[in-house]
């Protein structure tokens, strides 16, 4: 060790060749980060498009209704469902990240909080997806 400070990071070696994992390496900590990053990028690109389609409101009723009709087709409907599911993961896991950083017990409970995020995500999806898919796949009155 070239420096004393580094020694605070050394951990006991286990017989396993794989690292046991730290907050961001391996297991839930890493996969939640991967998902957070992928969902963040997806939401970002949707937001760019969404600001532009909403801007059609300033052009004419016809222009706006034309873009909106594309959002109402079944393929886009499935895409919107996926997008909302992605937003829900990003939002709940974002709160988990904030708690890890600011709550004194956050790092200790990060794994438990990950499973709470997954539970909320499943509940949120079960609440949203049927309603939205119903609206997308039934004829307007």
């Amino acid at each position: 060790m070239p420096n004393e400070a580094a020694s605070t990071l050394t951990t006991a070696r286990s017989s396993s060749k794989r690292p046991a994992g730290t907050l961001y390496r391996g297991n839930t900590g890493m996969w939640s980060w991967v998902l957070h990053r992928i969902t963040g990028v997806s939401i970002y690109f949707f937001l760019l498009v969404h600001v532009l389609d909403t801007a059609m409101i300033r052009v004419s009723p016809q222009a706006y209704d034309a873009v909106m009709s594309t959002y109402k087709n079944p393929i886009m409907g499935l895409g919107e469902t996926a997008l909302v599911i992605a937003i829900m993961f990003h939002a709940f896991n974002g709160i988990r990240i904030i708690l890890i950083d600011f709550w004194s017990k956050g790092a200790k409970y990060q794994r438990l909080m990950f499973w709470i995020v997954i539970a909320l995500w499943v509940i949120g999806t079960a609440g949203f997806a049927p309603i939205h898919l119903h609206n997308v796949f039934t004829e307007p009155q």
């Binding site: 760019l48 009723p61 709160i95 990240i97 309603i131 939205h132 609206n135 997308v136």
Partner: protein, 149 residues
């Protein structure tokens, strides 16, 4: 030339005293805006996609109805600013992580910043200058309450 890799947990040395630590404020912004965005985005999705007939109801008249009140104008504009800056700053982090070529990185970062500025200005103008009875709208498409001449 050799690069010095400092031991982990070595305290960060300030290059010069009194300079603003932008990276720290960006980090804090991601967390503050995140909490606000959760409320704003979930409210936005609930009102637009869950209540009533959801996406089926969304058309010019629906949005005109929302933008008739300052409440929804401000809701959308605050959400626009917070989300564009949060998303762009997040994309900046990701570009810094993966784009190791100097020029590529610079082009991507400038693109992200330009997109953010253009869309924030455009979106804000759209919300605040929107007039459902705007004179460009043909009489046969105008909403019923508009004084058509």
């Amino acid at each position: 030339m050799s690069t010095i890799i400092e031991a982990p947990r070595t305290p960060r040395e300030r290059s010069s005293k009194g300079r603003v630590n932008w990276e720290k404020w960006g980090w804090l912004y991601m967390r503050l805006s995140g909490v606000l965005l959760l409320i704003l985005i979930f409210g936005h999705l609930f009102v637009n996609l869950v209540l009533g007939e959801g996406i089926k109801e969304i058309d010019f008249a629906f949005v005109a109805g929302k933008y008739a009140t300052p409440f929804w104008q401000w809701w959308d504009v605050v959400m626009l600013w917070l989300a564009m800056i949060h998303g762009s700053n997040g994309m900046r982090t990701i570009v810094n992580d993966y784009a190791s070529h100097r020029t590529v990185r610079r082009v991507l970062l400038i693109g992200i910043a330009a997109a953010a500025i253009i869309l924030i200005v455009l979106g804000t103008l759209v919300v605040f200058t929107f007039d459902p009875c705007n004179t460009f709208i043909p009489a046969d498409q105008a909403l019923t309450f508009c004084p058509v001449n």
